[in-house]
Symmetry: C4
Subunit: 231 residues, 4 copies
């Protein structure tokens, strides 16, 4: 599914807003996470730096070029827009980026424990590279380092800081952000009472092949969305 190609700007903004609100409701985004959707080869939509994540509206979405200059809207993008711009520059296949501050995933990085696949949906992330610095990604060189460490992976962890997840569209990106945190939570919890079983390469490959479907991504999205509206 290519959201950007089929939707108009308002629909894209609406989906970006929903993704961030669902992540805030799930405590995967706190007061300062951000998400973006590619607008074209040289610009992207992103929530403004000052926006209230848990109460986000489409008015909080601006569009900036790959140098962070506003091309639509008047509020400033987040200081860490370099995460988005440098990934869009490096990865033509990426049309959505989420920068989250997820509790469980980050706890693993705080103690030097690598992410391991311990649950089916977690296989979709595979091995996740780590940026070994807690500093903010608020310069172009830092953004470039995030992009080069990410390489062709779907996600990267930032030590004692957070995560960056990418996708070919926002539905996929959102689902991966949720699976990353759910797998990390189970890994952390199991570590408290023993050594968690790590999926074999074969098991991991089987799940990746079977579960990487728009149907599952949409079901995950709908599950979180239903919680948003009932809470």
């Amino acid at each position: 599914m290519e959201v950007a190609a089929h939707g108009d700007a308002m629909e894209i903004k609406r989906q970006l807003v929903d993704a961030i609100r669902m992540l805030a409701a799930a405590d995967i985004v706190d007061h300062s996470g951000h998400g973006s959707v590619r607008r074209d080869s040289r610009s992207f939509y992103v929530n403004s730096g000052a926006s209230t994540r848990a109460a986000l509206t489409t008015d909080d979405i601006v569009a900036v070029d790959l140098n962070g200059n506003l091309v639509d809207g008047s509020a400033r993008p987040p200081l860490e827009f370099h995460i988005h711009s440098e990934i869009y520059r490096a990865r033509e296949d990426v049309h959505a980026v989420l920068h989250t501050h997820p509790r469980w995933s980050t706890l693993l990085t705080m103690v030097g424990e690598p992410y391991k696949v311990v649950y089916a949906q977690g296989a979709l992330l595979g091995a996740i590279p780590l940026l070994d610095s807690p500093l903010s990604v608020n310069t172009k060189p830092m953004g470039e380092k995030v992009a080069s460490t990410l390489g062709a992976h779907p996600a990267i962890l930032l030590k004692s800081h957070g995560a960056v997840i990418v996708g070919s569209n926002m539905l996929e990106c959102f689902a991966l952000a949720a699976y990353l945190e759910e797998n990390a939570c189970r890994q952390y919890m199991a570590m408290q009472i023993g050594t968690p079983y790590v999926f074999s390469d074969n098991e991991r490959d089987m799940f990746r092949e079977r579960l990487w479907t728009e149907n599952l991504f949409r079901k995950t999205w709908d599950h979180y969305y239903s919680k948003l509206h009932h809470s």
Copy 2:
């Protein structure tokens, strides 16, 4: 109580919907759990694979035969319908099946810790067999393996994956699913600060005899139901 015998189809669907919604609200079912109620010797009701569990309605319930062919409704059953069909085939006494993704019970399986009875209602489950594979139960042979491992027990754990609970009706099945998770939670939590007291065989038998009553199952159902409507 034989729900299927006394209720009409809509009442059965309503009860199935309520059970899944209560389990989703309690985080025992996530975006992809499923439940079923036997319809007759050759078919059963089940929520569709694409349905949003936390916002389920009776329109999401379909009926399929033991080979997964639709006999009522138009949406597809879950890919793991084999869990239900093979158990209904093997166990005439079973009229309700729940496949949950419970956090605490699954954590025990992730570290190789067997379920132990550490709390009164947990005695109703007794020793719980384990299917030693994290793979999905999406083939007939896998379903047969679940059924044969289950044997005459009320529940089975699937390593790093989830649980299957059966009952002579949905009220009983739901209550057992709740007790399984509550007992596993206490077992896990106690393991973090010491070694939990495991009920003696005598204590276990006394509780099983005294607590296996429709009254308690209904009280448990009503307790969860009241939370659903107040949240």
Copy 3:
């Protein structure tokens, strides 16, 4: 404050209902806890065994004599009414009893860890005796054992089962039930990362003297009550 003396029956029932609903909302009472208020020297009010705790109303309150015979209302008292009757028989000073199933306090008993005072309000409980059996208190001899183990204390823990808290009125009884669980929670949590500081006898006595006030009990009640109505 002597609630029973100044209030009429409906006010007493109302307060009992509120106490149980607040404890259910705080997960200190589950589907089968119960509470009572003394009616006179030979009877007490108690929620019926079948009542839904989280949605309790004054219609769920019955009155029974010290042998469990109904003197007001038509629903059956809990099977464990002996907890209440035997304490009222043994302790003239007690006018309210709560039987809770608190998570944290019970976890301590599961691993043989005694309750220790680690937080100011926890000093009001002091040392808490333990009934060393997980069995239900559903006979007169078991009720007598609870009463004799309780002695002159304000609370008793039941191994792998729950707690019983008593008070000269329901406000005091409720506040003590909340403090017991809050102290146990902190004790458990601290044990996971070290050895918690236990208050000296002197500190304990100072807090007991200063904090045992109707003002504090009412403030605690109001705090939980405000959460009940805003949730």
Copy 4:
């Protein structure tokens, strides 16, 4: 931003009420925390001792002089008003004080574990001095000890009791109270599975310089405020 100078009394009270209600919703304040805003060199606004924190209104705010004598309103200030009065006496730069009972920060003090900077916003607190006594601060000498131990720091921890946070205005004070608890939570959680990475002095200084901005404080406030209104 100098709230007191620009706002009128009602606006100051409103902000104080919001801060305490947000902290109560986040379980950082329980039934007995309190907050204050400086009124002038010799008096301050504070919530009354008997007020219900989770349902606070501006009617619960009184003004007292530095000896605790009422200068506005009729309800009594908290018994621990000495925390506020002695800090206002000692620190001219302080215009807002919060006394919280935060779970995670307090757990660290219970086991003798010092607060360490393990997360970006946690750097704003730096090293936090400890008052090595669990007793209430309900005398002038105890208040003076809190003020002298606090020195020029933005916060102090009280062993097995709670925290005191100060700020040049309530927005800053609230944000620091939230960051303290969030950092302590991560420190505690990471300790359960390993040894958390502690920020280097250089990293700490960089974050303190970059993050100490009214923009971030306001965004944090708005984030918590949005949760208050949606819950």
